[in-house]
């Protein structure tokens, strides 16, 4: 046996590791000074003097989501060629976005094109000095056509993400965000209890719920159905949305505000309307028309419960949820039954119903701080963004890929080939989707391509003419972060009210006091100031 020989080999390995370790101990020191993760990408970020047209391509590091798996996707090649740039893809997983991004930022790897999910993120990164300042006038100058669309949609979009009065990002707007949340119903059940239309008033809605529970709408002779359920486990503020809306208030999202009757900014859960809504919900819970297991119901279970006929109403849905998720699932399980989308409910005193909408406000695109001093790169990025938003060819290529290969055009609407319906797969394989197509589904002039006729018909059918309302304070309220327990407080009381653990007379008053005392008052005042600054 050759034991000694293998031993020598092992010792050699040990030595190799030793040397490696020694090498790195030295490297450790000059960590903080070195800039940028990838040397080749870095070189070009130094502004180079030349100005001729056929100069070196500018290197741009690009951060967005649902990115390509390779660095030579057709869309990347198209953009690089067309704009004479070299793109370095930065890939992050959505589920752990900030954990990954912050580490990279701390290592001074700051992307040039910087996808930003929210105004909160902008607030944080701008204060950390990571983002380049992008004054509104500059954006308007460099991206005139897109800026016009923003102004046309809502000029306040420019203001929602200001940090101490300064602008750090290009706002995206989302036309579909203006559509309302709508309830969906099991139409066959409605027919079984004698309704030929979805309920339109709170009164009718209550009647439907009770009959869904008591009148055996599925006709199986067993009392095993409930009126409705809710996502208490993973998205409590969306629970019973339609009911809160009927009382004229937005649901109690911790970061959603609205104007009370005296025109003061308030939190919906501390209003008189909320008390009335909870009283009703508590009664329904006691009477068993709300599925008592809504406490542990999440998105998946809610859809299951609806598709399988445990409940007859599905509540938190924008129009495309109904068209793309709820209805197909419902039909897959119940091919012979029908599904119908309802309207917001008229309130207890007959006031017309309004549906909650997210509003136009959406994500943002920023630029890394290093772009601030590099006007050539900055203008190049502006040029690309303007084209992505408003130039048809660029938009279609970046969002959907190559016509005839990756999608076909029907009546002006894009129909991706079946493999690429899923934008995540599309992005992974050809780079088309929200990664480069930052404005996908978010550009007025391009909307006509995003929806095939079937879809846009469905959309106008269910949403047209439905009055909506949304968060009254779209701007960022940094005080929210200072009171992390506020949401926990309102969420637990939300449940206590419905379950009847706290009464809705004195108990509700006490809650309002407690909420204000626990930081709610400060948050409201701050929100009021933000609202002022937007008017």
């Amino acid at each position: 046996m050759s034991k000694p020989k293998t031993l020598v080999a092992k010792l050699a390995l040990v030595l190799a590791i030793l040397m490696l370790a020694a090498a790195c101990a030295n490297a450790e020191k000059n960590t903080n000074e070195t800039n940028e993760g990838n040397p080749p990408a870095d070189e070009s970020s130094n502004p180079s003097g030349g100005s001729s047209q056929d100069e070196e391509p500018i290197q741009i590091s690009w951060l967005s989501w649902n990115g390509p798996e390779g660095d030579d996707s057709p869309v990347q090649q198209y953009l690089e060629e067309r704009f004479n740039v070299k793109i370095k893809n930065v890939r992050l997983e959505r589920a752990q976005w900030q954990q990954q991004l912050n580490i990279k930022l701390a290592a001074k790897e700051i992307p040039d094109v910087f996808w930003l999910w929210s105004s909160e993120e902008i607030d944080m990164y701008a204060k950390q000095g990571v983002l380049a300042e992008l004054p509104v006038d500059l954006i308007k100058e460099k991206m005139p056509r897109y800026s016009e669309d923003v102004d046309q949609g809502d000029p306040n979009l420019w203001k929602y993400a200001l940090v101490e009065g300064e602008s750090y990002a290009i706002p995206l707007y989302w036309p579909d965000g203006q559509t309302p949340f709508l309830p969906g119903y099991n139409e066959s059940w409605l027919k079984a209890i004698g309704y030929d239309h979805p309920p339109t008033t709170l009164e009718e809605f209550e009647d439907v719920l009770y009959k869904f529970r008591n009148d055996d709408p599925d006709g199986n002779g067993v009392k095993d159905t409930y009126g409705m359920t809710a996502r208490a486990k993973d998205a409590l503020p969306q629970a019973f949305n339609v009911v809160f809306n009927a009382f004229g208030i937005v649901p109690p999202y911790d970061n959603m505000f609205f104007y009370d009757q005296e025109d003061n900014i308030t939190f919906s859960m501390i209003t008189e309307e909320a008390r009335q809504a909870f009283k009703l919900l508590h009664k329904w819970y006691e009477d068993g028309v709300i599925d008592p297991e809504f406490i542990t119901t999440d998105y998946t279970k809610m859809r299951q419960d609806f598709a399988n006929g445990r409940v007859g109403v599905i509540d938190p849905g924008l129009w495309y949820h109904h068209q793309n998720v709820f209805e197909p699932e419902f039909k897959a399980v119940n091919p012979e039954q029908d599904y119908v989308v309802g309207q917001p409910l008229n309130g207890p005193n007959g006031e017309p119903g309004k549906g909650l909408s997210y509003g136009l406000k959406n994500n943002y695109i920023g630029m890394g701080i290093q772009v601030e001093g590099d006007t050539k790169k900055r203008d190049k990025i502006f040029e690309i963004l303007e084209a992505l938003a408003t130039d048809e060819e660029t938009y279609l290529m970046a969002s959907y890929g190559r016509e005839g290969i990756d999608y076909t055009m029907e009546d002006g609407g894009v129909v991706p080939i079946p493999e690429y319906v899923d934008s995540q797969v599309r992005g992974a394989e050809i780079g088309a989707g929200p990664y480069y197509g930052l404005f996908m589904t978010k550009s007025f002039p391009m909307l006509k391509h995003d929806l095939p006729k079937v879809k846009s018909d469905y959309k106008s059918n269910v949403t047209e003419g439905v009055p909506t309302f949304s968060n009254a304070v779209m701007g960022n309220v940094p005080e929210l972060a200072a009171y992390p327990d506020l949401k926990k407080l309102s969420d637990s009381y939300f449940m206590k009210f419905i379950l009847g653990e706290v009464d809705l007379d004195k108990g509700f008053d006490d809650f309002v006091e407690l909420w204000k005392k626990s930081g709610g008052q400060e948050v409201l005042e701050a929100a009021g100031e933000v609202a002022q600054s937007l008017n």
């Binding site: 034991k3 000694p4 293998t6 031993l7 092992k10 040990v14 490696l20 090498a23 790195c24 490297a27 450790e28 960590t31 903080n32 993760g37 798996e69 390779g70 930065v90 890939r91 992050l92 997983e93 959505r94 589920a95 752990q96 954990q99 990954q100 580490i103 990279k104 701390a106 290592a107 579909d176 965000g177 998105y299 998946t300 859809r303 299951q304 419960d305 399988n308 445990r310 495309y320 949820h321 793309n324 998720v325 197909p328 699932e329 897959a332 399980v333 997210y358 959406n362 994500n363 991706p416 319906v421 899923d422 934008s423 995540q424 797969v425 992974a428 929200p434 589904t441 995003d450 929806l451």
Partner: protein, 289 residues
């Protein structure tokens, strides 16, 4: 050997108890397998799933067509095999001296190592270190930064301490030095614990994903779990504004289950192979010698 009545009763009791425990524990897997083989409509059915009522392999087809998946498999197998092997070698090397009571400054060395269980510099310094070592976008980034695990090292050391010193002494009389004694006497005598620590390490390697996420941008070097997470975790937020993709949700559950099965079964098969090292009396032969 004949069993007494009491013995029979006891065996019956033990069998019934462990059988019922196994039933409870195998259910999640049966559930996942049957969901993965079901149609979307069947997967939506609430309650117990013991077998697919309508069998379909659609979900597996979808799960396996992603070409990233195969890169993922290669890299995961690499890190599991190489990482586990090197960890075992290096940890045994360190644990053996520490098991010797009269090693000079042994308590200092032990404290040096134990302290690492309680303090850590955190993610940012580690990230910078790995970057400076030039390990970015290299498969070795999966192996070297996790070469040692303090918990495993301590367990190994404690098992080494239980080995009767006469056996090592006999090797030394034959002129073997400590290094040779470790590899020719101690390691062969420690198969059960090496199997245990090796299994821990292999499973850790198989399931790890965060290092791949932050250290590796080259998609041909990413591990399987990263692809799994893309398919499982990222689909959970249908909330986020997207429109046309929502169609995938109809078979999301079945694909999820299929992907999970594909990614989990290989590592599950490891244990049955290792079981022979967990049989009582395995060391008798070597002890006699």
């Amino acid at each position: 050997m004949a069993m007494t009545t009491g013995e029979k009763w006891f065996q019956g009791f033990a069998v019934v108890l462990s059988a019922s425990l196994s039933l409870a524990m195998i259910y999640p897997f049966i559930h996942m397998i049957s969901i993965s083989l079901s149609t979307p409509a069947e997967a939506l059915r609430p309650g117990i799933h013991l077998y697919p009522r309508e069998l379909t392999l659609d979900a597996y087809q979808k799960a396996l067509t992603s070409n990233g998946m195969w890169y993922g498999f290669q890299n995961t197998i690499f890190r599991t095999v190489v990482g586990t092997f090197l960890s075992l070698v290096f940890m045994s090397m360190a644990a053996y001296p520490l098991s010797k009571k009269d090693l000079p400054d042994r308590n200092f060395f032990m404290m040096f190592i134990i302290m690492t269980m309680f303090f850590s510099g955190g993610l940012i310094p580690t990230y910078l270190l790995v970057k400076n070592l030039g390990l970015f976008d290299s498969r070795w980034v999966y192996v070297i930064p996790v070469l040692f695990n303090t918990f495993s090292l301590i367990i190994l050391r404690n098992f080494f301490m239980e080995i009767p010193s006469e056996l090592e002494d006999s090797a030394k009389i034959d002129g073997a030095n400590d290094i040779r004694t470790l590899f020719s006497i101690v390691i062969p005598l420690s198969k059960p614990i090496l199997a245990t620590v090796g299994l821990w390490s292999a499973v850790m390697h198989w399931n790890a994903w965060f290092d791949a996420l932050i250290y590796v941008q080259d998609q041909s070097k990413v591990v399987l779990q990263v692809f799994i997470r893309r398919l499982i975790v990222e689909n959970q937020d249908l909330e986020i504004m997207k429109m046309m993709d929502d169609q995938k949700s109809l078979n999301a559950e079945t694909v999820k289950a299929a992907v999970l099965m594909v990614a989990t079964l290989p590592i599950l098969l490891l244990y049955p192979f290792l079981q022979k090292y967990f049989i009582q009396g395995i060391l008798v032969g070597s002890l006699k010698g």
